[in-house]
Amino acid sequence: MRDVAIIGVSQTKFGELWDSSFRDLIAEAGIKALVDAEIDGNDIEAMFVGNMSSGLFVEQEHIAALISDHVGLNPVPTTRVEAACASGGLALRQGIMAVASGFHDVVISAGVEKMTDVVDATPAIATASDQEWEAQQGATFPSLYAMIAKRHMHEYGTTREQLAQFSVVNHKNASKNPNAQFPFEITVDKVINSTMVADPLTLLDCSPVTDGAAAIVMVPAEKAKEYTDTPIYVRASAQASGTLTLHDRKDITTIESTKVASRKAYEMAGVDVKDIDVTEVHDCFSINGLLAVEDLGFVEKGKGGIAIEEGQTEIDGDFPINSSGGLKARGHPLGATGIAQAAEIVWQLRGEAGGRQVDGAEIGMTHNIGGTGGTAAVHIFGRDL
C-alpha cells in the first residue's frame, strides 16, 4: 500500500448561495482545487464525490455522470459516495484508497450539497436516520440529538452554558474564516435565548442549512514533491459503522463508531490523541461537538463540558477544535463537510489559515459522522509521513 499526499484543496464560500446551482458549486470547487494543485484537468484519473441527497434537494440523481460531464472530465471514472453527512469523509477515503492501492495516481475527492432549493430541508436530512424506527415515528435530527444532550446533562452534569459555549467558540473561529457561512461572533446568552428547536437545543446550537462544495487532489506520496513543496500527507484513514438508531445503543451519550474509528486511526498513524495539534469535529449540533471531544479521547467521558468551558478547545487551547468554525458556523453542506474539514486541516498544516492559524500545527485530524453515528470517518494528516 502506497502512502498518499494531498497537493491541492479548495472550498467554495458556504452559505445560502441563491445564485449558484448544484453544478456551479461542484465546478467551482473542482477548478479551485486544480488551481491550488497547479495541475490540469487532463491529469485527473478518477473522481469521487460525496453527496447525501441530491435527489431530495435538487431532484437530481446520477450526479457522478453529471459532474464529470459538466466539468469536462469525461471519460474519467466518477463515483458518487453516500453515507449521509459522512459522505464527504467517505469520498475522501475512497480517493485515498484508490491512490494507496496503486489503482490511480492522481485522484480528486470532492463533496457537494445544494440544500436551499427546498423550503424545508428537515425531511431530507431525516433520511439519515432509521425511517421505520425513528423518522416515521416523528423523530427529527434535532430531537434525536436533544435526547442525547438531555441524557448527557443528566449523567454528567453538563450545563446548558457549556453546550452554548461550543457554538460561541465556533463562531469566534468562523469570524476569521472568509469562506464561513456565519463569520461573526455570538454570546452564550444569545445561544440560550435563540429560538427553541428541541429542548435543550436552540437555534444557535444547530448547524445551518448550507450550499457549498469542497475538493481535494491526491497523489502518491513518493510523487508529491513533483507537484508541490508543501504536500500534506495522509497519516491515517479509518472508518467504522455503528447502530443506525439511538435506541439500539447501550449508552446514547457515546458514539461508538467515533471511538472505534479514532482508535484505528491513531494506531495507523502511530500517534496518540495528545499528538494531534488541530482537529475538525462533526458538530452538527453543539452536543455532538461535545461528544466528539470525549469520544475521540481528548478528555474522559463526561468531562467534555468542562473542557469547553475552560477554553481547552479554543485556537490557543490544549487541543484546538474547529478552527474553521465547524459545522455550526462554517456551515454544513452535508456531502461537502467531510472534504471541507480536510481542506481546513491542510490549510492549518501548511500554515495558511490566516487569523485562525494554530501555531506550529504538525498533525491534524478530521472527524465526520453520518446520522447519529451510524457511520464515522476519522482521518489524520501530517506535514511529514
Binding site: E16, W18, T116, V119, D120, T195
Partner: protein, 345 residues
C-alpha cells in the same frame, strides 16, 4: 402631466394581535413581534372581500377626485384574492361607482404589486389620450395557512387611485419597473393557501427587486434619497421595510409615515397604495414622494410623485387612512378563524 386626481383607502375594522395567534400555535409572541415588526393585523369580516374593500376605497377616491364617474374610461383591480376565479372584480367596482358602461375593465394579478401595475396601465391610457380618467385599485383579503409564518401578517385592505391629466392633486413625475421570473411565493389554482420559499423570499426576491427598482428610479430621475420628503416601499412585514429604507439611504423620518404593517399587517396588493394614501393625507404641496412596490414572482414598480396645492382641500373630502385604521375592534382567534373561513363544516 399625468397624475393622481383622487385617492381613497379602506381597511376592515377587525384586528387580531400577533400574541393571540402565537398563543394558539405555541410561538413566542415577543420574539415574533420584534422579529417581524408586526403587532396586529386587520381581519376582514365574513361579508367583506376584495370587491367590497375595492368599492369602498374607489368611492372615497371619487369623492376626492370630484369628477363625473362616467368619465372613467378604465378600471383595473389588482389583487391576489379576487372573489371569483372567473368573473371580474373590476366590473363590480365599475358598476358600484357608476362608471359603466363606456369603459374597459379587467382584474390584475401580480402578487402584491398588481395595484401599482394598474396605476401604470392607467397612466399609459391617459397619456395616449385613449381615456380621460382611469381607476386603479390594489386590494386584498390575503391568505395565510393556519400555523404558517404568513398567518401573522396576511391581512386585508386596499386603496384606490383616480389617474388623469386634469384636476390632479399630485403629479406622477416618473415610473419604472424591474421584473424577473423569481418563484418566491405562489398559489396554484384551487389551493386555499399560498406556498412560499421561506428565506428565499428575502435577499433574492424582495430586496433584489425593491433595491434594483429603486436604483433604476434614482438613475432615471437623476435624484438621491435626500431629494425626497417621503419614501415608502412594499411592506410584507415591518422588518423588510425598515431594512430596505436603511439600505437605500433614507432616514427614519422619511419612511415612518408610509409604514402601516405593524398595525394592520400585510395588505398585499393594498400595501403600497395604502402607504401612499397615508403619506398623501399629510404631505404638503411641493413635497416629493419616492414609492417602490413589490410583487412576488417577482417585480417592483417605482414612482416619483410631487404633491400639488390642490391636495389641501380635496383630501378633506374622504376619511384619512389613519382614521380608518384607528377605527378597530379586536377579535380572538376563534372569531378570526370563522371570519376567514378556516373553520370547515
Amino acid at each position: 402631466m399625468v397624475g393622481i386626481v383622487g385617492y381613497g383607502a379602506h381597511v376592515p375594522s377587525y384586528r387580531i394581535k400577533v400574541e393571540e395567534i402565537a398563543k394558539v400555535w405555541g410561538d413566542d409572541p415577543v420574539a415574533l413581534s420584534n422579529g417581524l415588526v408586526v403587532n396586529e393585523k386587520s381581519v376582514p369580516s365574513a361579508d367583506e372581500d376584495t370587491a367590497t374593500i375595492a368599492v369602498t376605497a374607489a368611492r372615497y377616491a371619487l369623492a376626492r377626485a370630484q369628477i363625473d364617474p362616467s368619465k372613467i374610461g378604465a378600471v383595473y383591480v389588482g389583487s391576489e384574492s379576487h372573489p371569483y376565479a372567473v368573473k371580474p372584480t373590476a366590473s363590480i367596482v365599475a358598476e358600484a361607482v357608476c362608471a359603466t358602461p363606456k369603459l374597459t375593465a379587467a382584474d390584475l394579478e401580480f402578487a402584491c404589486k398588481a395595484g401599482t401595475a394598474g396605476i401604470q396601465m392607467n397612466m399609459g391610457l391617459v397619456e395616449s389620450g385613449m381615456i380621460e380618467y382611469g381607476l386603479a385599485i390594489g386590494a386584498d383579503t390575503s391568505q395565510g395557512a393556519p400555523g404558517d409564518a404568513l398567518e401573522y401578517t396576511a391581512s386585508a385592505g386596499g386603496a384606490a387611485y383616480v389617474i388623469g391629466k386634469d384636476n390632479t392633486i399630485a403629479d406622477i413625475d416618473h415610473t419604472c419597473s424591474f421584473t424577473t421570473d423569481t418563484p418566491d411565493f405562489y398559489r396554484r389554482e384551487g389551493q386555499d393557501y399560498p406556498s412560499h420559499g421561506g428565506r428565499f423570499t428575502g435577499e433574492p426576491a424582495y430586496f433584489k427587486h425593491v433595491l434594483s427598482a429603486a436604483k433604476m428610479l434614482f438613475d432615471e430621475t437623476d435624484s438621491k434619497p435626500e431629494d425626497y420628503d417621503y419614501a415608502c416601499f412594499h411592506q410584507p412585514n415591518g422588518k423588510f421595510y425598515l431594512r430596505a429604507g436603511k439600505k437605500l439611504g433614507f432616514t427614519s423620518e422619511q419612511i415612518k409615515q408610509g409604514l402601516l404593517t405593524p398595525n394592520i399587517g400585510n395588505t398585499y396588493s393594498g400595501a403600497v397604495p395604502l402607504a401612499l394614501s397615508n403619506i398623501l393625507d399629510v404631505a404638503n404641496p411641493g413635497d416629493k414622494i419616492f414609492v417602490i412596490s413589490y410583487g412576488s414572482g417577482a417585480g417592483s414598480d417605482g414612482f416619483t410623485i410631487t404633491v400639488k396645492d390642490e391636495i389641501v382641500e380635496r383630501r378633506e373630502l374622504a376619511p384619512k387612512t389613519q382614521e380608518i385604521i384607528d377605527d378597530k375592534t379586536y377579535v380572538d382567534y376563534a372569531v378570526y378563524a370563522k371570519f376567514k373561513g378556516k373553520i370547515k363544516m
